[in-house]
């Protein structure tokens, strides 16, 4: 027995078990998120249940579990029609159900507002959009709907033009304010020129808005009447319908089609319904851009600081203290960084920039409010210790002979650093960057007070000069999870989106790290043993 302990076998088992446990927990998390997240967009069949009370309901079965009474089961239906019922979900005891059916002509309508509608097509008023003669009403609905979507895209193009105009108008307003601040009177030629331009733009603006309004009105003429399961009727404008389909009639391929179209919407469209429906494009974009700008600040800063600390600073009490401080920085709660970012970057630096360069805009802040720049700087501060520690370790791992070999050939310390040490430590530095990026991608708390918003009206990159607007507020997947999961008025309806968003965030981190890891392995191959 004693010999058994001495061989160390139990410890090997224990280490193995510890590793398996960690992996198991991580795996469980991923699997749960995947199961819940991947299934969200699959169009489930609709079930119509006639209750013993005589009422009928139509919806997707979400859950089935033992009834609270202890006998039989109960089902949770997603019945939608929030504008009629008020609630999207309903629990029904199976004992109360008289009959179940899967009506082939049941529709799911995904709407711009009020969530899904479940019901049957009653009548159609689409004017000339779909020929009267052609086949049945449903086919005409689909044809007309497609046409309406196209028309709607034209209107959206107009809306883009409007936002471009309003950006220009805002610029002129700013210039006018500046002129006023400089004390130029209303008769100054510069002011007059600006006002003329403003008048022209405003005219354009009004015309465009009028055109949009009339086209929208025209578009809203096309509508269809649907009945819900209990017979209530609703007129729904085709323009309000995002997607209409009859799941009970669809075969596998068609369902895959719907799934893919929803996936496309997720990646490319803006969110709607207070973020619980629609796409995540602005949040994905914001997250990726945030990580990139963060790396842009944190990477050079961390590497250069580490180089000084390792290569140039004279080893002593001060350097040791600095090193301890750097390591401790990594342990400060992220919210503290957020508060620091708010106080130092936003109010301090941003406020000073405003006072110096945009005094005409005050009290409206330009840089003295949360934005992508300040959020990335805050995150850079948060991740810089990771980069410093990794770089220092990578530099320290280079054998002394290599340094001496280079110096002995008459190279300066700087040449040695640039030509030998940095390339050799690049894999280690990359590891630091990967860790830093992963950490930054997962942070939410410091962002909440440095520039993240629930819904950003514009992306940080657009077609207006200077194209990259780092002062703008932005959306972020991590904050999105918190927002729709815990701040949404309709938590139950938002739940699928929480899983999808989580999955997406994990995916983004995964993609970014794998790219970085590939890069690192390439460098490793190049600068350690092996071939080119």
């Amino acid at each position: 027995m004693q010999k058994y302990w001495r061989t160390g076998e139990p410890y090997v088992w224990a280490t193995g078990a510890a590793l398996s446990l960690t992996l198991l927990i991580a795996l469980t998390l991923i699997v749960v998120v995947m199961i819940n997240g991947l299934g969200v967009f699959w169009p489930d069949d609709l079930e119509q249940a006639t209750l013993k009370s005589g009422r009928t309901l139509l919806g997707e079965v979400v859950k089935r579990e033992p009834a609270a009474s202890g006998e039989g089961y109960r089902k949770q239906y997603k019945i939608g029609n929030r504008d009629i019922y008020g609630l999207d979900f309903r629990w029904v005891d199976e004992a109360d159900i008289e009959a179940l059916a899967q009506p082939a002509d049941a529709f799911i309508l995904e709407r711009e507002e009020y969530g899904n509608f479940y019901g049957y097509l009653q009548s159609l008023d689409v004017g000339g959009l779909a020929p009267e003669s052609s086949s049945d009403d449903a086919a005409r609905l689909f044809a007309a709907h497609e046409r309406v979507r196209e028309l709607k895209e034209d209107v959206e193009d107009l809306e883009d033009a409007v936002s471009g105009l309003s950006y220009q108008l805002e610029n002129i307003r700013r210039q006018l304010l500046e002129a006023e601040y400089q004390g130029l009177g209303p008769n100054h030629p510069k002011v007059e020129a600006l006002e003329r331009e403003q008048a022209i733009l405003q005219d354009d603006f009004r015309q465009l808005v009028d055109r949009i309004n009339s086209e929208t009105r025209q578009l809203r003429q096309y509508h269809a009447t649907f009945t819900e399961a209990d017979g209530q009727q609703r007129d729904i404008a085709l323009a309000d319908i995002v997607r209409a389909y009859r799941p009970n009639q669809m075969d596998f391929v068609q369902k895959v089609g719907v799934y893919l179209s929803k996936l496309k919407e997720l990646f490319l469209a803006d969110p709607r319904e207070s973020n619980t429906e629609g796409g995540l494009f602005p949040a994905i974009f914001g997250t990726v851009l945030l990580i990139f700008t963060m790396s842009l600040f944190s990477f050079p800063l961390g590497v250069i600081a580490a180089i000084y600390l390792r290569e140039y600073a004279r080893e002593g009490l001060l350097v040791r203290l600095v090193r301890i401080a750097v390591n401790n920085l990594a342990g400060i709660p992220s919210i503290v960084y957020g508060i620091f970012g708010l106080g130092f970057f936003i109010y301090g630096i941003g406020g000073t920039i405003d006072r110096l360069f945009f005094p005409e805009m005050l009290p409206t802040p330009t840089y003295g409010t949360g934005g992508l720049l300040w959020a990335s700087l805050t995150l850079a501060l948060l991740t810089v210790p990771v980069v410093i520690v990794a770089t220092e370790e990578a530099l320290g791992a280079i054998p002394r002979e290599i340094r001496e070999g280079s110096l002995a050939l008459g190279s300066t310390k700087f040449q040695t650093l640039v030509r030998i040490l940095l390339p050799m430590s690049s894999p280690g530095i990359m590891t630091g960057l990967i860790l830093a990026m992963a950490r930054a991608a997962g942070e939410v708390a410091p962002l909440m007070i440095t520039g993240v918003v629930k819904l950003a009206p514009t992306l940080p990159i657009d077609g207006n000069f200077p194209f990259l607007h780092l002062d703008r507020k932005f959306m972020h997947l991590g904050f999105h999870i918190y927002d729709i999961g815990f701040q949404s008025p309709n938590v139950e309806a938002a739940k699928p989106m929480v899983f999808v968003t989580t999955l997406l965030l994990v995916l983004i981190v995964l993609v970014m790290s794998s790219v970085a890891i590939r890069l690192r392995n390439k460098m490793k191959k190049r600068y350690t043993f092996g071939t080119f």
């Binding site: 004279r314 080893e315 054998p399 002979e401 290599i402 001496e404 070999g405 280079s406 110096l407 002995a408 050939l409 008459g410 190279s411 300066t412 040449q415 030509r419 030998i420 390339p423 050799m424 190049r526 600068y527 350690t528 043993f529 092996g530 071939t531 080119f532």
Partner: protein
């Protein structure tokens, strides 16, 4: 025992004048006076910790890298004191090359390793670089083995090849003196003999100072030998004379393996 007079050296390349060396408060070298003959091989021998490597590293001021080191006395290279404040250390290290105990090729191609010294000196002319690479590799007796794979990583070479590459790298910048710090201690006998042959060849063009633990090696490759013990120079003389008929008892004991 008749005391042999120290050999008379005309035209020394390096003159060490009463050199004291300190690591912090610890004195590592005590008043060394030595002359190194031009275009000859001089071996520094002595037991571990006797200060022979320290002395060697004084010649290209490699000891400057150690913060706590301090040098007193003079070392003259061609008559100019290298420890003067006006000395350009970079320039000095170009004139005094070094080969280390552990071969230390850079993680670059074989070619880039050889021309490294030229590149950092600012040489950009491709023909000059290529010619130097070929000349140095031939000089280090490595050309035939690597001429077809100059662009492959130097880390793929064998231990002996790596050490010869390091020698090629050192002679590429055309130094006056090559310092070798136990260049063969990590090599197998076959590679050792190749490096020793190489040293025999190089002595025609360069001054070589070699630190070695291996008595036979010192006897085989060197013209002169200096024996150090606990930071003191015990004896210096023609290798042949020293190994045949050492002047001091200490030297004799060490050479015959009675201590050290």
């Amino acid at each position: 025992m008749s005391k042999t007079a120290p050999p008379e050296i005309k035209d020394p390349i390096i003159e060490v004048e009463h050199l004291d060396f300190y690591y912090g408060t610890e004195k590592a070298l005590h008043g060394i006076d030595l002359l190194f003959p031009r275009r000859h091989v001089t071996a520094l021998i002595g037991p571990s910790g006797c200060g022979k490597s320290t002395l060697l590293r004084c010649f290209n001021r490699m000891n400057d890298l150690i913060d706590i080191s301090e040098v007193q006395g003079n070392i003259l290279l061609n008559g100019a004191n290298i420890y003067e404040s006006a000395t350009d250390v970079i320039e000095l290290r170009r004139r005094v090359g070094m080969v280390f105990q552990k071969s230390n090729p850079f993680p670059k191609s074989i070619y880039e390793n050889v021309v490294y010294g030229l590149r950092i000196a600012g040489v950009k002319n491709k023909t000059v670089l290529a010619e130097t690479a070929e000349r140095s590799l031939k000089g280090a007796a490595l050309w035939d083995e690597v001429k077809d794979r100059l662009n492959q990583s130097a880390l793929g070479l064998s231990g002996g090849q790596m050490q010869r590459l390091c020698i090629a790298r050192a002679i590429a910048v055309n130094p006056e003196v090559i310092l070798m710090d136990e260049p063969c201690s990590a090599l197998d006998p076959k590679s050792t003999s190749r490096v020793e042959e190489l040293i025999g060849k190089l002595r025609n063009d360069y001054t070589i100072i070699i630190v070695t633990h291996n008595m036979q090696q010192a006897a085989r490759v060197s013209d002169y030998t200096a024996f150090l013990y606990e930071g003191h120079l015990v004896e210096f003389g023609l290798t042949e004379q020293m190994f045949m008929k050492p002047a001091k008892k200490q030297t004799e004991d060490y050479i015959t393996g009675r201590f050290g």
